[in-house]
Amino acid sequence: MTFLSFLISGISLGSIYAIIALGYTMVYGIAKMLNFAHGDVIMVGAYICFFATSRYEMPPIVGILLAVVVCTILGIVIEKLAYKPLRAAPILAVLITAIGVSYFLQNAALLLWSSNPKVFKPIVPTGSRITLFDGQLSISVITLVTIASCIVIMIALTTFTSKSKMGKAMRACSEDKGAAQLMGINVNATISLTFAIGSGLAAIAGVLLCSAYPTLVPTTGAMPGIKAFTAAVFGGIGSIPGALVGGILLGVIEIFAKAYITTQLSDAICFAVLIVVLLVKPAGLLGKQIREKV
């Protein structure tokens, strides 16, 4: 039973990575850039929810909605101010800018909210658990909420990109921006929309993350951000199902490494697995290398 409970924890942690990885992968797919500030948007989302629920004693759902709204706007603003002027710039300039935005957000949080850790109030009461098999297996409710959120988000996003007009336009832009413009698609608006969706999801990930690990500091988003980026690459950057597979696998590997090997080396083990996967499949597990016909 301990194996099963570790597996469930792994899937839950992996669900958070997957939701964050979606933001990386969607933005990469369309803007062909790695938005390293994405992890810090998670942190901002968590702070917004913290202030709403702990300071102003709003109900959790209001806290989550506020976090989503603020992060969505933040994502759009970051893209407009920092990345849009660099559309034609070399990839390295964009990368450095993204790292700069990341530090900017962390330092802004430090100034606004100080480095004192905040104790995040989980969105479901702490200690609420479900017991199964005559008390042999006990799962916390937040674990289940996290996994369920991930499933709902995945289904919604997959439906959006495969069925809706805007979702298809997004895929068209990620393949060929020039051709997309010839179809009448507003590429700038589509990129904005992608940042908006990714950042909104980051807010949800932030709330779920801090509900499971309730210590909130300005660097809270950094490590999960990097791990989720790893998960996105692991699954195949640019691919939505890849983000799910990569995220879940990374979460499970991390929890198993912590449980059965050693806590100190769990991150090293995650990254070692990534390296092995990339050696065997350079495009990631579900990434495809497409060849163009001439």
Binding site: R171, E175, D176, G178, L182, M183, N186
Partner: protein, 236 residues
């Protein structure tokens, strides 16, 4: 006949490279006009400038009496101007039907089903393959898809950039037949071709481009029989 497109003294640069050096020409409603010229003459650059993907430093592009100089590329197609770009540029990871739907991006949703039927009737091959991703189509099928996709926007002026490129002779013939049919149905066409013989045979008028300038112009038949054109572009 009414002038539908008027290109007046455009100059286009790629950084320091002066690719288009003061080109002017016009297309009348219902005409097929062709631009011919060797590799690098500036044919694609001209079409890309008209569709807003590139900008001219000087002069103007007017479509149905309205200047397009400041119109962003994504707002041009809804005015009735569609480009089938060089190299087709279909969305390889999307299905045939999704590609066609993208062509109808600016259209009302209610008319899309009927337009799909219209395109499928024109290109039965695409109908058979509507669920396949465009990347799995042959070169000729991709060209048909690119043309069908452009037709989904109901263009008043259809611009085609080397539609016969890389196709087997039988397919080239088929493509030109389609162009002829579109022309007969009243679509105005601006055609860029390396295959000068075929292009001039369907065209009402033609312009010959050399290193970013118009060097000769005339009716299709005039250009076909001109000794210089024969020598330079028709292989004899």
């Amino acid at each position: 006949m009414a002038e539908i497109l008027k290109v007046d003294n455009i100059n286009v640069y790629y950084g320091a490279i002066h690719a288009i050096k003061g080109i002017s020409f016009h297309v009348d409603e219902g005409e097929v006009v062709t631009l011919i010229g060797a590799n690098g003459a500036g044919k694609s650059t001209t079409l890309n400038t008209i569709s807003g993907l590139l900008r001219s430093k000087t002069g103007s592009v007017e479509f149905m009496g309205k200047s397009l100089n400041r119109t962003p590329a994504h707002k041009i197609v809804s005015q009735g101007l569609a480009l089938v770009p060089e190299g087709r540029r279909v969305f390889l990871q999307m299905t045939v039907q999704e590609n066609l739907e993208m062509g109808a991006f600016t259209q009302k949703n209610s008319g899309v089903a009927a337009d799909l039927e219209m395109v499928y009737q024109q290109f039965p091959r695409l109908k058979e393959r509507y669920k396949q991703t465009a990347g799995t189509l042959s070169g000729g099928e991709q060209q048909m898809l690119a043309m069908g996709r452009a037709l989904m926007s109901h263009p008043k002026l259809l611009m085609l950039d080397e539609p016969s490129m890389g196709l087997a002779p039988i397919l080239v013939e088929q493509i030109f037949e389609i162009i002829q049919n579109l022309h007969n149905a009243g679509t105005t066409i601006l055609l860029v071709e390396q295959n000068a013989q075929a292009a001039l045979s369907v065209a009402d008028r033609g312009y010959v481009l050399e290193t970013g300038k118009v060097v000769t112009t005339g009716s299709g038949t005039e250009l076909l029989s001109s000794p210089e054109i024969k020598k330079a572009y028709l292989g004899g």
